[in-house]
């Protein structure tokens, strides 16, 4: 990436960060609370995109990774009274181990088969959390009354935004190096990558590890934000598809795309709620997703990029006059 382009992108990141930091000063508490959920969704969508958007291994089992982190920290704090600064890192570590398990099918299969196996991972965990040691996991009801990190909408907003922003920025820095190109090459033709002397095993392991770590951070924080963990909500197919759609709608294979998609989806679903309080609103968001995907498969990020490309010369000419 040429230096000028790098500096311009850096400027956009700073502007985005500064803008988002100012929002609680003008927005209502309701909007701030929505943004907290959008930040969590953005973290999960970025995590999904590292595996699926970059390497092309479509995961239908991301709640499995989020669940490992959530249950680890919930069990540690509830039953062992572990402090959060211990339970959250341990939860991320446990998710990394879980990510390795998740990676094993990718050694032999890809495409639809891989997606189905990952879906099985999610379903398996859903069943296990209810059947195996329900005294520890809370069974079908899960665990509630868990410790929270901080109280109040605004502090939680800043916490979740800072975490989301830090993850996004780190991922952006990493993916703009040659590893970003190598991961994209795997998505395009894995055999050709091998034929050029690169170990796709190593690259995929890196992508799965990074994805698991991000899912782990998001999952652990999420549990301590809402103060509970419930298997039915966590391993719900709607939750899974919200993550997928956020990444695809925003722009898969980019960093800004999943963030954009997460913010768009969260507000869309919320503003549809008064008109369509039930699950019907998922029809609307499904339809919008289909339309955007058919018109621009690279998502909202690409639409905005094109609009910016067309508008910026006009604005520049206007300013010059």
């Amino acid at each position: 990436m040429p230096k000028s382009r790098f500096h311009r992108s850096l400027l956009y990141w700073l502007a985005f960060g500064a803008f988002m930091c100012l929002i609680p000063l003008v927005a209502s508490t309701g909007v701030v609370r929505l943004l907290i959920f959008a930040n969590f969704l953005a973290i999960f969508a970025m995590s999904w995109d590292i595996i699926s958007g970059r390497t092309g291994y479509i995961s239908f089992g991301h709640p499995f990774l989020i669940g490992i982190a959530g249950y680890t920290t919930a069990i540690l704090t509830r039953h062992l009274d572990a402090p959060l600064f211990v339970s959250i890192p341990l939860a991320v570590l446990a998710t990394l181990v879980g990510g390795t398990l998740f990676f094993l099918p990718a050694l032999r299969i890809r495409g639809t088969y891989f997606a189905l196996v990952t879906l099985a991972f999610m379903e398996l965990m859903y069943q296990l959390t209810q059947v195996i040691a329900p005294k520890i996991t809370g069974g079908t009801r899960g665990l509630s009354g868990l410790k929270t990190i901080i109280l109040g909408a605004v502090p939680n907003y800043y916490l979740t935004f800072c975490v989301m922003f830090a993850i996004a920025f780190c991922l952006w820095l990493i993916t703009r190096t040659r590893i970003g190109t190598a991961l994209a090459a795997i998505r395009m033709d894995e055999e050709a990558v091998t034929a050029l002397g690169l170990s796709t095993l190593k690259l995929k392991l890196f992508a799965f590890g990074a994805s698991a770590a991000v899912a782990g951070i998001g999952g652990a924080l999420y549990v301590h934000y809402i103060g509970s963990i419930a298997p039915r909500a966590l391993f719900d197919i709607n939750f899974l598809f919200t993550i997928l759609v956020a990444a695809l709608l925003g722009g898969s294979g980019t960093i800004a795309g999943p963030i954009l998609g997460a913010y768009f989806l969260t507000f869309l679903l919320e503003y549809l709620r008064p008109y369509l309080p039930g699950a019907e609103r998922y029809f609307i968001y499904g339809a919008i997703t289909l339309v955007v995907y058919v018109l621009e498969p690279r998502g909202l990020h690409s639409i905005l990029e094109r609009a910016y490309g067309k508008l910026s010369p006009i604005v520049a000419r206007g300013l010059a006059k």
């Binding site: 990493i174 190096t177 040659r178 590893i179 190109t181 190598a182 994209a184 090459a185 998505r187 395009m188 033709d189 055999e191 050709a192 990558v193 091998t194 034929a195 050029l196 002397g197 690169l198 170990s199 796709t200 190593k202 690259l203 890196f206």
Partner: protein, 255 residues
């Protein structure tokens, strides 16, 4: 003298089809070896065995005197063996320059993230195959078949191979492009690169190779200098069939 790359008694079956049948040969360092034969003779499968893309049912592969039969493909490339494919396999979403850059990447996560390698080596390779600034920013979908072959070659050269296996490298190229590519390969040969070339274009192959081996129905049927091999009765029969051989009289490199 130990062969740089050696195949010993290799066989490969796909179901009931014997694609490669007890084939043995070696390539000396600095040598250019042509591998010819009619369609379906087993040439590409032989390349795949040498690269580790197909595991032979029997037999072995050695590189610099060491067995590599069980070494995975990416490790063989790191050792110094690389191939081009009959059907080019570019990364469709990347421009030409990025495609070549993947070829020169180190196999280390840390180095891929932390190091910023200069780009001059890739530009040298790009120029050597006739790509300039304009082509560098083009997507593979915008290239002709000839340009795709050049991209495939450039990307493979970027892995810095000691021995290069070229599969139908002249197919789809214009006369001018073939001449340019021949010059490039001869220049690399002078610099010490070792080649194995599969080609149906015998006229283009002739100035490039020191020796040829001929395969038919998976078996090695002849080996030696180009003209001598072309005059071989078994080779003529494999290419044209018995009756046609009698009609045509001879198969040679100018046919």
């Amino acid at each position: 003298m130990t062969a740089l790359l050696k195949l010993s008694g290799a066989s490969k079956k796909f179901g009931g089809l014997v694609a490669v049948n007890d084939v043995s040969f070696g390539v000396e360092k600095g040598e250019s070896l042509g591998l010819i034969g009619p369609n379906g003779a087993g040439k590409t499968t032989t390349f795949s065995i040498l690269m580790g893309e197909h595991r032979p049912d029997s037999g072995s592969v050695e590189f610099r005197g060491r067995p590599i039969t069980n070494v995975p493909t990416h490790r063989r490339v790191q050792l110094g063996i690389a191939r081009t494919h009959q059907i080019p396999k570019p990364f469709g979403g990347m421009d030409v320059f990025e495609n070549v850059r993947v070829g020169s990447m180190p196999d280390s996560i840390w180095r891929l993230i932390a190091e910023r390698e200069p780009e001059h080596a890739e530009w040298e390779i790009m120029e050597s195959v006739g790509f300039g600034e304009r082509e560098a920013r083009m997507l593979p979908g915008q290239l002709s078949m000839g340009e795709l072959r050049k991209l495939e070659l450039a990307r493979t050269l970027a892995t810095n191979p000691e021995i290069l296996l070229l599969d139908e490298v002249f197919a789809g190229l214009t006369v001018g492009e073939i001449a340019q590519l021949t010059q490039l390969l001869l220049e690399r040969k002078r610099q010490g690169m070792t080649y194995m070339i599969v080609s149906h274009d015998l006229r283009s192959l002739r100035p490039l190779v020191d020796r040829v081996i001929v395969m038919s129905f998976g078996s090695l049927i002849a080996e030696g200098e180009f003209d001598a091999v072309m005059a071989d009765e078994a080779v003529r029969e494999a290419y044209l069939g018995h009756a046609r051989t009698e009609e045509r009289g001879v198969v040679d490199g100018t046919a």
